[in-house]
Every structure is written in structure tokens, then in C-alpha cells.
Symmetry: C2
Subunit: 411 residues, 2 copies
């Protein structure tokens, strides 16, 4: 008699974004003429950079000639892409990361979930609260938690609250933890981390044999030159951190799909016999067994991000979204709302007005302004009373959404 | 102290194909002028069909206009692709499969590995021997096995031998098993399954509450009209089978990456409290949490496989490779070798001559003929003494490889 993985039954009804989509679709069905503006899911809206498109079309054309046709590529990704990344994203910032330590994948969502495959069941896991829901849900699926309480917290996870009180930067936990998820610039709060702050985590991890999962999906939005883009800018991080990056938000690859994970060869963890095992070897074995690499043309598109034209086009995209973020912050502040983030990050984190719950504010915003955001409580119990607004949309839509919100919610 | 998943330490040194690559690279380094012909890994060699390329280029162009730009797609895949598949691959053959039961992914290797995420740890797993190594390795990684013996067999797995004696079709096991991997047309042996044969498995699965993982990656190579292309051609399979398919081998997508998995909504398995849980819901939850869908352009390329031009171009590709298979079979038989498969399947399964072991034959073939095949023992203990030759190459290379082999190995 085949049995299921019972841990799935512990999960809450739906992953946050499908639940939002359900409510939005249901509203649209009942209000077919409503002009919905989506500032919810962090999905980009502007065209793919021309440099990427040109490279992708050339790649498809190569597929038409048996002399340049590409079959299975290296599971880890093509060396020409990994070398560009190592050089431009890491070595240029003084990070000692080699191309062989980079694994190309089709998404950070996959990687941050799949990375758990290679770790033991007995690790104590720490997440911030609020947090990107995939970190929590994939730990639940893997059986790393107990059941969930009415606040949405799972037994067995260590939650590190991030709120206005601690400037949305988690404090080092008093208990020992083994695997720690950190995301900077932060999703959902838009908070950033200084080098000094990250150093406290690297020091903690090294002192405790812990490993940091560092999600840098939004690093391209950093404009403050004092802020680190990579955890490997911190001395010692090679021995205690895995970094996740994506082309989704910088080059607009959410529908094109390309990301990368950095696993330094110096990173180890313990086997049950007490020996040290290289994490790189395990991840390489996992990826070469369960993954077949990213589409050739997509990798060529990602490579073009590092060309002269590509860099300028990506910079223009980022600047555009960050101008949106500035408009959102200014407009909401002018309307008397408390606003966080939106600087060095494409997310604006808003305190819901009038003491509304996050989902009540979601429904109200949808119904009265036809604007979709993301309820803070969907990211964790400590996100209750907050709301995430994304800067990913056209200028026209951002202006119109702000006009509607400020009119209706003026405090 | 972070710990690893110790199950990884049970794995044999390398996944089969990386090990082959290692030996080939080492040979090339020592013999830089050798003209290697690869008939090893099942990788296609001929250009991507024009219909697919045209669709993919159009898709990239759409990405350049914000009105047609595509961000995140549905995790399950676009409905227009799933509907074509449901209609052309299933309903047209009398299979009661709906588009909502199809999940688009970037590869069958991923899906056949990841599917274990949603099943319990206590299932008894059956695999054929020889078998596609990913089935075994992913079960080892998931902790479903004990350690490995010197024949390469893992404690806790039920191995069903497939040899010339049983016509390479596994017998129904005498013990109860819960999850069964079947692959037809078979990789590596090239064997096929009749409807009557598959019906014995469906009946067994239904009687025992077992689930069949049916890998149909090579169905396009079936030319005998009496043979089933899908397990859903068998009555009752909707209640006991998941089917995996791929665009890799029919349309040459090994470097482009697109596949699909069918999970009927009527399929259930037991939770630990004895209740029946819909597998579709679990897989949908897994995919929407840990996957972000396949690249938009790649899905458009896959859709083009079902256009009039696409169908004709794919047919021509298949015919070409099958003519290769026929040449391989005829030449090796003429040289006195015992040959199986190669009809309705792109793999030829050869008994190694002179009692050579599979790896000895591999090394000999590499060194004396500069031809790369795949050692049968790499697919399992019962594959020892066999060798897989793939029909995926140019006509010129296939002819040249056969000339070299027949000259050197004439028995």
C-alpha cells in the first residue's frame, strides 16, 4: 500500500501567492470591469534586455545547425557563464569565489528548497519572521518541523522576529542553531544589511559550526556603496555560507528562468560519524543526479547580462524600478502611512492603517482601490499588521495605484 | 553543528554518465588525435526542428515588448501547452487524461527524482535490474535503502531482473511492493511492453494499492501499432500510475529542456492515519512551492511539436534515428554478436563478446575503436555482460563506428 509523505498535511492551505491569485481571480469574476493593478507578487513587468534577447535568438539559431547544435549541457552550467559570474559578481568585489563553485539553475526558489536534500534531518533551522514562505514550507515538507499553530508558526523552527523595533535585522539567537536563512536586501521588508551586521552572523556560524543560507536575489537593487552585495565580502564566509542569486529581478528573467547557487569548496558539515564532508561534493552529486542543467539559450541570455550593453540595459531596468519604489515611499508617507524599505530594495513594507489585519487590508485594497499587494502575515506571524508593496510595474500603474491608495487610506 | 544527509555517503562513486565522461576525457588527453564517436549517453545530435526554433524565436521577440512580455508563468505550465499534450498524446489514443492532470517541467530526470518528495519513507520500492540509475540513486538519497553490496545492489530495494531469459520484461514480484518503476520502451535494454503485459502490472498495482512510475520518455520511437504509448491505454491505470514524458528524445530537447508528468486526479495513497490522499494535490503543492515553471520560450517550442510542420519534422528525426538503430542491429548481428532492442526503441542492447565484463568492453571499445558506449553493469548488477549502444548520432558516425566495431570484434 503506497503511503504519502505526511509532512505535506502539516502545510497551510496554500502557498501564499496561489492564495492571492485565487482571491484576485474571484474578485475579477465578480467585477469584470475592474482595472486591477498588481503590486503583489514580485514579478517584473518591463521587457527583457535587448542584449539578452539577441543572445537568446542567436542560441536558438545555433540549434538549427548540427555543427552548433547543443544537446545535454554540463549539469552545473556552462563554464563560459560560470566564469563571467565568478569574475563580475564576486571577484570584482573582492570575493574569493571560483567558477567551479557556481552552480547554474532554473531558479532560486528551486535551489533554496532543494538545498535541504543534502542536509541532515536533525539540524536546528532558524528563519526570520516574516520570511520568504518557501524557506519554511520546504522545511515542513522535509519533515524538519512539528505541526503549525494558529499564528502560522511551526513547532521545531526557530523564528527570529524582524520588526520596526530591531530595524528589521534579526538578533543572533540565544540558542544554538545549525542552518540559518538570511535574505538581504530583504524580501519582504526591504531591509538591508551592513558588513558589520553580516559579520556577526559569520562569526556566530563559524563559532557554532552552523551554515548560513544567504539569499541575495535582490542585490542588484543596492545603490549604497557601503552595503555588501555578497556574503562572501565578509571574511570567513567561505567556510560557513551558501549564497543564492537569480537573474529574475535584475534582468527580468522571471519568465525566462535562470539563477545560481554558490557552494564554496571549503564549506563542510558533519556526517553522523563526526567526520567533515564537503558540501560542494554533495550538491554536485545532487544536481548531476536530479537536474539536467538550464536551457542552452537561457544560459546564453544570462551571459549577455555581463556584456557592456547588457550591463547598461540591466542598470536602466533597476533604476526604473527603484524610481517606482521612491514614488511609492513618498506617496504613502505623504498620506501619513508608516513605510519601511524601498531604498536599496524593490519592496516597500507598509504598516497597515487603522489597525487593520494584513489580510483585511489586502481585501480592502483589492475591493476599494483594485490594487493587489501582499499581506505581511503571509510571510509569518510577525508580519501581521504589515503589507508588502512591490515596485515592479509600469510608471503609469504605480502612479495610478498610489493615487487610488492615498485617496482611500489617507489617515 | 550542521549535519549532512548521510544517505549520500552510501552512493557509489559517481553517477554513471559523469564516470563515462571522466574515462573518455582521460583517454582524449592521452590520445589527442583520436576520432571519438559517442554512442554512449542517450544524447541527440540532430538540429532542433525548425517549427520549434521559429516558435522559440517568436517567443523571445515577445519578451521585448512590455505588452507581450511574460513574467512568472503558471508553475504547472501554460494551459495552451498542457491542452495540446492532453489532446494529442493522450486523448487521441483513448486515454482519459485532462490538461489539468499534466505538469510541465524542465526534465524527466528531475521529475522521476523529485516525485519521491511526496511519498512516505516506508514504501517498498521495486526497480528493474538493469535500470536507469536515477531511479536508484534518488531512492538512496531519500533514505529508502540500506547500504550497497559489491554487486552494486542496495539493501531494501526490490530488484526485478530483466534479461534475455525473460525477454527483458520483469515478472510480477512475489512480495508486495508499493512503488514500482517501469520504463517502456526500455532504457537501457530497448525492450517494449505489450498492452497485456502492462495490464498485469496495473492489475497488480490495483490489487495491492501500489503506484507505478511509468517512464515513457521513448514512446515516440514505437512503430508497432499494437504497442501502447502510454500506460493510460490500460484500463484502471488512472488509479495507480504516474507517467513521465519528455521532449528530449522525440524533438531533440536535451539541451533545450522540457518534459511533463501526468498525475491523474483519481490517484490516491495512504496517509499514516489510513485516509486516502490525492497525489495530484501533493504534487501540485510540491511544484508550486519548489519550482517556478519552464522558460516561456521553451514551452512555446514544445507547443510547436504539435503543429503540422512540427509533427512532420519530429517524425523525420525519429525515422532518422531508427534507421541508425536498424543499421547498428544489422551490422552487429552480421559480426556475430547477440543483439536486443533497437526496434521501437533507440537503444541497442548487446551481449559483450568473449565473456568480457561490461566495463572491460567499454575500455576496449574506447581504446581500440575510439567508440563510446555505456557499460550494462552501470545500469545494475543484472546488466553485467551487456552493453548499450545508442542510435543518436549522424549516419556517417554510425556507419564508421559499426565499421570499426565489426572489424575489431568479429567473433
Amino acid at each position: 500500500m503506497a503511503t504519502i509523505n505526511d509532512n505535506y498535511l502539516k502545510l497551510k492551505a496554500g502557498y501564499l501567492f496561489p492564495e492571492i491569485a485565487r482571491r484576485v481571480n474571484s474578485f475579477i469574476e465578480a467585477n469584470s470591469d475592474a482595472k486591477i493593478i498588481k503590486l503583489g507578487i514580485g514579478d517584473v513587468t518591463e521587457p527583457l534586455p535587448e542584449a539578452c534577447r539577441t543572445a537568446m535568438i542567436k542560441a536558438v539559431e545555433e540549434m538549427g545547425d548540427r555543427n552548433t547544435f547543443k544537446g545535454y549541457g554540463p549539469e552545473q552550467g556552462y563554464a563560459w557563464l560560470r566564469e563571467k559570474i565568478a569574475q563580475e559578481d564576486f571577484q570584482a568585489r573582492g570575493c574569493d569565489i571560483d567558477a567551479s563553485e557556481i552552480f547554474i539553475s532554473d531558479g532560486s526558489k528551486c535551489d533554496t528548497g532543494n538545498i535541504l536534500d543534502i542536509f541532515g534531518k536533525d539540524n536546528i533551522i532558524a528563519v526570520t519572521d516574516p520570511v520568504y514562505p518557501v524557506y519554511v514550507d520546504t522545511n515542513v515538507m522535509a519533515g524538519h518541523t512539528g505541526s503549525v499553530n494558529e499564528r502560522g508558526e511551526f513547532d521545531g523552527l526557530v523564528y527570529l522576529p524582524i520588526t520596526a523595533e530591531n530595524n528589521f535585522t534579526a538578533e543572533i539567537p540565544s540558542q544554538k542553531v545549525d542552518l540559518i536563512y538570511l535574505c538581504f536586501p530583504n524580501n519582504p521588508t526591504g531591509a538591508t544589511a551592513t558588513k558589520d551586521y553580516l559579520k556577526t552572523w559569520v562569526d556566530y556560524a563559524k563559532a557554532n559550526g552552523a551554515i548560513i543560507f544567504f539569499d541575495a536575489a535582490y542585490e542588484a537593487f543596492i545603490t549604497d556603496s557601503s552595503l555588501p552585495h555578497s556574503i562572501y565580502e565578509i571574511d570567513g564566509a567561505r567556510d560557513c555560507a551558501i549564497e543564492f542569486r537569480s537573474f529574475s529581478k535584475n534582468a527580468g528573467f522571471t519568465g525566462t528562468r535562470c539563477a545560481l547557487t554558490v557552494v564554496p569548496k571549503t564549506l563542510t558539515a558533519k556526517a553522523s560519524d563526526g567526520s567533515d564532508v564537503e558540501i560542494w561534493k554533495l550538491w554536485n552529486r545532487r544536481q548531476s543526479t536530479k537536474f539536467n542543467g538550464v536551457s542552452y539559450g537561457v544560459q546564453r541570455g544570462a551571459e549577455a547580462v555581463y556584456s557592456t550593453e547588457g550591463k547598461a540595459q540591466v542598470r536602466a531596468l533597476i533604476d526604473f524600478y527603484m524610481e517606482n519604489a521612491t514614488i511609492i515611499c513618498e506617496q504613502l508617507k505623504a498620506a501619513g502611512l508608516s513605510v519601511y524599505g524601498g531604498v536599496n530594495a524593490p519592496y516597500v513594507w507598509v504598516k497597515t492603517p487603522h489597525g487593520l489585519s494584513s489580510w483585511d487590508f489586502f481585501d480592502k485594497l483589492l475591493q476599494t482601490c483594485n490594487v493587489v499587494g501582499t499581506p505581511g502575515s503571509g510571510f509569518g506571524a510577525a508580519g501581521e499588521g504589515y503589507f508588502r508593496i512591490s515596485a515592479f510595474n509600469s510608471r503609469e500603474n504605480v502612479n495610478e495605484a498610489m493615487k487610488r491608495i492615498t485617496e482611500k487610506f489617507k489617515v
